[in-house]
Symmetry: D2
Subunit: 332 residues, 4 copies
Amino acid sequence: MNQFGLLFRLSVFGESHGTAVGLLIDGCPPGIDIDEADFVEDMERRKGKNQPGTTPRKEEDKPVFLSGIFKGKTTGAPLTIIFENKQTRSEDYEKQKDIARPGHADFVAEKKFKGFQDYRGGGHFSGRLTVCLVAAGVVAKKILKGVVPQAGIQARLVELGAEQNIEHGLQKALNAGDSVGGIVECTAGPLPIGWGEPFFNSVESLISHAVFSIPAIKGIEFGAGFGAAKMFGSRHNDPLMDASGKTSTNNSGGISGGLTNGNPLVFRVAVKPTSSTPQKQHSYNRVSGKMEDFSIKGRHDLSIALRVPVVIEAITACVLLDLAMINKSVSQ
Amino acid sequence: MNQFGLLFRLSVFGESHGTAVGLLIDGCPPGIDIDEADFVEDMERRKGKNQPGTTPRKEEDKPVFLSGIFKGKTTGAPLTIIFENKQTRSEDYEKQKDIARPGHADFVAEKKFKGFQDYRGGGHFSGRLTVCLVAAGVVAKKILKGVVPQAGIQARLVELGAEQNIEHGLQKALNAGDSVGGIVECTAGPLPIGWGEPFFNSVESLISHAVFSIPAIKGIEFGAGFGAAKMFGSRHNDPLMDASGKTSTNNSGGISGGLTNGNPLVFRVAVKPTSSTPQKQHSYNRVSGKMEDFSIKGRHDLSIALRVPVVIEAITACVLLDLAMINKSVSQ
Amino acid sequence: MNQFGLLFRLSVFGESHGTAVGLLIDGCPPGIDIDEADFVEDMERRKGKNQPGTTPRKEEDKPVFLSGIFKGKTTGAPLTIIFENKQTRSEDYEKQKDIARPGHADFVAEKKFKGFQDYRGGGHFSGRLTVCLVAAGVVAKKILKGVVPQAGIQARLVELGAEQNIEHGLQKALNAGDSVGGIVECTAGPLPIGWGEPFFNSVESLISHAVFSIPAIKGIEFGAGFGAAKMFGSRHNDPLMDASGKTSTNNSGGISGGLTNGNPLVFRVAVKPTSSTPQKQHSYNRVSGKMEDFSIKGRHDLSIALRVPVVIEAITACVLLDLAMINKSVSQ
Amino acid sequence: MNQFGLLFRLSVFGESHGTAVGLLIDGCPPGIDIDEADFVEDMERRKGKNQPGTTPRKEEDKPVFLSGIFKGKTTGAPLTIIFENKQTRSEDYEKQKDIARPGHADFVAEKKFKGFQDYRGGGHFSGRLTVCLVAAGVVAKKILKGVVPQAGIQARLVELGAEQNIEHGLQKALNAGDSVGGIVECTAGPLPIGWGEPFFNSVESLISHAVFSIPAIKGIEFGAGFGAAKMFGSRHNDPLMDASGKTSTNNSGGISGGLTNGNPLVFRVAVKPTSSTPQKQHSYNRVSGKMEDFSIKGRHDLSIALRVPVVIEAITACVLLDLAMINKSVSQ
């Protein structure tokens, strides 16, 4: 189901080359100021701000409010925002639809949806849909600001193509004429203690669920993460320092027993290289029934990782807001 | 909410030192043979089979069927199974409750539940609850066998305390007198193409959500995972080899666009070291208001990682069964 | 939450005098032919087909497909349809917003949404939103036709203003210059045996949940309904006649133990009179702080009951389709 | 799915002649005093207090707390309560299982669950399960008392077998040697304004959904209900009297636009006659393949309606508590 959240419930819809992509938020509190200007900065960040290595397809990404806004404020009714698709060049996709592009969803979408899927530009599977996640994040961050005014969420690219120097990593990819992956780190806090639930709605469960909805994410780790697997317990454990819950180390990434523990929430995600590499590829042609060489048409990023941080922030804001609302509901 | 799954819906309940722990499965199909003997092997695996480094607390872990079973078969009505707690030694916990144990949920549970939580042995946060996950897995695997008869799920410990030789890793921990973490790899297949949904119910989203409900898991990666972040796209992409969807490499871990792609599902999880290390620790005493040295009482594992594989298999079976049921429902 | 259904999941959004009203269907199977013409008949029925007593506001009610349709067929991705609001005359509402209109949601909406609600024409509470329910029904009926080809759903007005002769009832209201209520009966079948669940997802639970989402519905009864409360058991019980499940009477309305029993599903709903009566009314003015006489402005129906049958059919189709999909998913 | 509620989430399980019936509450706030004595009064009311016309099967109905209670208070973790079945006489059911009892779920359960259902005493479909609803109500009422201290919920039998004098109605049934139906009215308040949601989660939707999970309920109406269908709008509309929302009449039953409006919530439900009438019946024998006369074995009520009021109160308390928690979560 294309939906996430219990009380702040987000649905996304649309296809890369269809009329529009959009989002529906159910559970948005009333009285939040929302206007077009609120979206500009995050939309620009998602577009990569003309950095080398980002797609030349430049959509305006201007939000159109269909419902839930009245006189510039949310009404409390379902909020629907769409972003029209204007810069589509669908003919690129008609030509290459006989070969399922490696790394893309073309082949599985064809099987799952029995050939009825919109195959142009990945259709509903496209990274284009992340514009909806970013928009949801804009709304969620605004509301969250009223709930936990001090809390900030920052995601940044910490490694590109094995290089911690992002420029080097990008240059390496440009030199190789190949797409490349990266690692994004996200920090959020300060957060109240006790958000989340033991077991199935742990903070790790919810964040990872949301994060893996972003195309191209293939790993996540909290705090020391995979490093924790190599540690002894006496080193990994974060000693409590005082009654506020502050710990001297933060190997747990701000989560104990699935709940926020008052220390900064820290996680890292692995972003795979853009599937649409400029390199020539070899894959199965379902019409000819043979393996064939081919090159990807269309306009693409060298690294999605450059554009992912704002999406990670957005989805994290949605999860945290949902947790804030749930937490508020049960306190006596 | 302590619940997971859309159609095969699992709830767990109970506390480490309470009357019992248990599970409720809603959506269990009728006519599945279930008896006590079905649980023996997986329960033994979860107990670590007397391997050095596993807890001396040995519960019988015998399932008691409260509902949903009639004449040895599931009825289709809600299935409730409990496991009585018999080997509790709660006095250990009364003594040390003034110091929140580092790495445990004691401190956050106290805050979230306002002092009303059952603090004995971690209460509802205890790893004891994984017996319920394993039991759910026993049921899910049986049903899954009827849906995808060829599919197997295997999880195994591939690294302990930075050692790929598990015996070495364990010996290192025994020598150090310290607990230790590890990495578990899980493989499942062959699976049909197209299970899962784009965006919020991607296979990665659902598996990670479920896996992070297991205490001590701090990271997950699918296929090449964090390694993918260092790769070029031309190397990472898995070329399709034929009409069956088979690819020559499996960097995607069997998932494309959030859907199963017909290749083996592969993921690895990072297990942190057992929080209850035999080492002396230093943490905040909320009664004295000072940092104090203390040693953990109670009976504990040197490495939970030794016991986690069967839990990972169980939770994976639950996710795959839910996906199988959803997939069946929408096909025309 | 503005959402209904487990597998065929419907959300509605929009306001009476906003840009548009719309619906989002998550879980729509791929390959269903959908075009504008499919909506004409049901949209006309909802408009009352120029029958006396229906509102002079005539929206075109032409569906605009935003997502989930490609080459005239559903793709399996979320389906979004909007209906633009073109014939709004919002100035009517600006004038009378100081007096909460009796029978309408104005007062409670103001309280719930803290004054931020779109008050024009009832905003999100408007009967205008039933266009979305009807549209969902058009889609659901098409899919259902593929699942249970023989099954039909018919709802019709059986009583208007206490008259079984609808023309008489309407004339009585026209003569009185007042709005009037009515009773709609819905029949569906033949349906397979065993749809629904014991307890919380009984067929009665799901149908009533859905039906009471239609503004103006104030009662529902299945089979003999309130009449059953006056009967002896020996008369109420429906004797089984053969192995097919056919019963000689149908006092149960086709539902036993919460499940479809193979006999026609029969229920009746009570529709209250349109709140916007042409009669002068007396109510509290929140600005003057006094009770005042006033007359409703705007364009309204004498009886919503005339337009409700197609909405009942639509919502019933959505429930039955969801049940069909759930039922299919669990069968072994 | 055997579950109800968004934040106060109730599951029920068990069979009439199995080991036990029980309930699982997820989302129960911590710190609520719960002990065995809290259940006595409502359990007695459900048993009918030895009134003529109630079943001679007298279970002790003593709650056994399996989880979520520590030192006499709820912990915030999932709360599980079971009621053991001790007075079962299953041999009654073995004898008559070839004839599906008219009015019961026997036939549909057999079809839905393919013969694997527990047929003894109706199994999971039994009215015995209402002990779980009553228990949930005991817990919900206690919590609700802390949220809306003034609010009361009262349900009472207002008509039995067409008689408003309940004794007369009962005597009529005793004389006829037949089971009989009745009407129960429930009132709740005072409640805050604005609980519920427009459309799919209207108060009517949620209450009716919950109420129809009680076996034997076949109709529900709010406020003037079916009577509203016969009224003119000028009479049905409830004029607002002051800024508090009080109306001079309450034809809406305390609900406007799907939301509580500050006036008492009022609804009535139709209870069908007990299906197990003492009268001789005629129905299909699936073994002989013929229609046959038979008499119901087992111990049964003449009218379930006598025992239903406390169940209606319980389920209403669960719905109102869930609404209270949701409402609290979204207020800024």
